[in-house]
Symmetry: C2
Subunit: 177 residues, 2 copies
């Protein structure tokens, strides 16, 4: 069967599109796929006991990371529509993991905060995922934390990087006003 594929690959060389380059990095592609799958799998297992999914996790994570987040900012970070957010956010509000307070200067805004319960869940999920990173980095010969950060950052669209960087390392929402 490998012969069949090779023969066919040769015969169509002329018809290959402009996208064709050197040998594809199948190993990196597949390792990234499986690594991410296991990474989110940790959180999935913790969440399914409470009846939440990944959508809830993402919302809770960013609300916990940036307490006082506005709806519009959250939509921008997640890249989803307000209708999509609404069902998930409503469940988080109803079950008391997140709470919303009207903005001080602008009372149209609903600023989102984690409740103590929501904060604990968010930290448990983050700890779980951090432990995977710690284990992984600990398996590597030298300290690979810096290189890992550099690699992951380099994988992000250059145009997106500033936004991501300020989200990851930037100021908290309290100083924003």
């Amino acid at each position: 069967m490998d012969q069949a594929l090779q023969a066919h690959s040769q015969s169509h060389k002329a018809a290959q599109t402009s996208a064709e380059v050197s040998a594809p990095a199948f190993d990196l592609i597949e390792l990234f796929f499986f690594a991410y799958r296991d990474f989110v799998g940790d959180a999935d297992r913790l969440l399914e006991d409470i009846g939440f999914g990944r959508a809830h996790h993402r919302v809770l994570h960013f609300v916990n990371r940036q307490p006082g987040l506005m709806i519009a900012e959250l939509l921008d970070i997640l890249g989803i529509t307000k209708q999509s957010l609404n069902r998930v956010l409503k469940e988080l509000l109803d079950t008391g993991y997140v709470e919303a307070r009207a903005g001080v200067t602008d009372r149209r805004q609903r600023l989102l905060f984690p409740t103590p319960k929501g904060h604990r869940l968010a930290m448990d999920l983050s700890d779980l995922q951090s432990r995977r990173f710690e284990r992984a980095l600990g398996e590597l010969p030298t300290d690979a934390r810096g290189p890992a950060i550099d690699f992951l950052l380099a994988m992000i669209d250059p145009a997106e990087r500033d936004r991501v960087c300020s989200l990851v390392w930037g100021k908290s929402r309290e100083e924003k006003s």
Copy 2:
């Protein structure tokens, strides 16, 4: 649900005191999230023109990588049910990206092969994703390809690694080049 939460909360405290969990690696968590999102976004944009989604991509990718794959093997790799696979696979067969032949020794088996058209699409998608890796690795000071592979592999569940390694390199991890 309250019980689950309470137990969960206590286990968190225990973990904090005994395992001395340091501050969660929010940066790695979020960078991994955004990196993976951009990574799959490349393929998503190419696929949506033909009306395919990520599910089609995953099936086509592994069929292209391992021509002659059996249905059961594919289900095992993807970790989904046959009912989920069926619709997607049917569309790939109907549109002529994948073809199925009965097994030689066991005619119950349906061995899956990429058609020339399917092979080209799979390679276009892989090339697109490879270019992101090449760009990313090229931005880093020293050659980071080996370290990147090691890091991604370390992120995968230890119990899963041998399976992933033989899938990626067709051999065990020790003999990986």
